[in-house]
Amino acid sequence: METLIVPASLNNLTDIRNYVKEAASAAGTSKEKLYQLQLAADEIATNIITYGYSGKGGEISVRGEIEGDSLTITLEDSGPAFDPRVRELPSEEDLSKPLEERAIGGLGIFLALQGVDQFDYRREGGKNVNILKVFLPKLA
């Protein structure tokens, strides 16, 4: 698929989710996987816009690739290096706490990482490269 490049603005999250929807439709993913992939891409992009670029702008590129039995969505940005995998995620104990005792942070990355079958990150050429992968149902 052609790469989508959008300014890093929360107003463009819809475009990113729509791009993921197109990619997922082309790949024939289930509705559930489509949603999880949209949520993961949305959360990673939100994190890039809010914390990576700190609201100062920049660009996010999104690329969908179908390879064999998987669909990969890759998000790239030029913000400071950030590997979502090293972010401390809510523990089982945190997740069972009542709302008044909940920490605000970490939920987005948690949902992103939980929602996809495989998540990879690398820093490459001064860019953060976030790779979200879901496996496709095998054709009979």
Partner: protein
């Protein structure tokens, strides 16, 4: 699908109906609605989510904000289903709210 929201505060109860896609761009509208209904000091917050198609963590954070802002109110989530309900469960929020299919009006 854009985000839609309507509020209705009456006596001890504040009702907010959410529809469309609740992402980080839309979450401030939801937060504003919580602040708006907080003025009436409701005892119950009822969130109608039948028509909510997408819920990101920014929306979940507004629920935490609601709890902080409104104090010890009962929070009802009505009609959430599919992946939105799944997100509420995955993040453990279902343990802090009353999940119901419908609500007597």
């Amino acid at each position: 699908m854009s985000f839609q929201l309507s509020t209705d505060a009456q006596q001890d109860e504040a009702r907010i109906t959410l529809g469309g896609e609740l992402d980080a761009a839309a979450a401030p509208q939801f937060k504003d609605a919580i602040e708006q209904v907080a003025v009436t000091s409701p005892k119950r917050l009822v969130l109608f989510m039948d028509e909510l198609a997408f819920l990101a963590s920014a929306g979940l954070r507004v629920l935490i904000f609601a709890r902080q802002k409104l104090g010890d109110v009962d929070i009802y989530v009505i009609g959430s289903k599919g992946p939105v309900l799944n997100t509420l469960k995955m993040s453990g929020f279902h343990q802090s709210v009353y999940l119901q299919d419908s609500y007597a009006t």
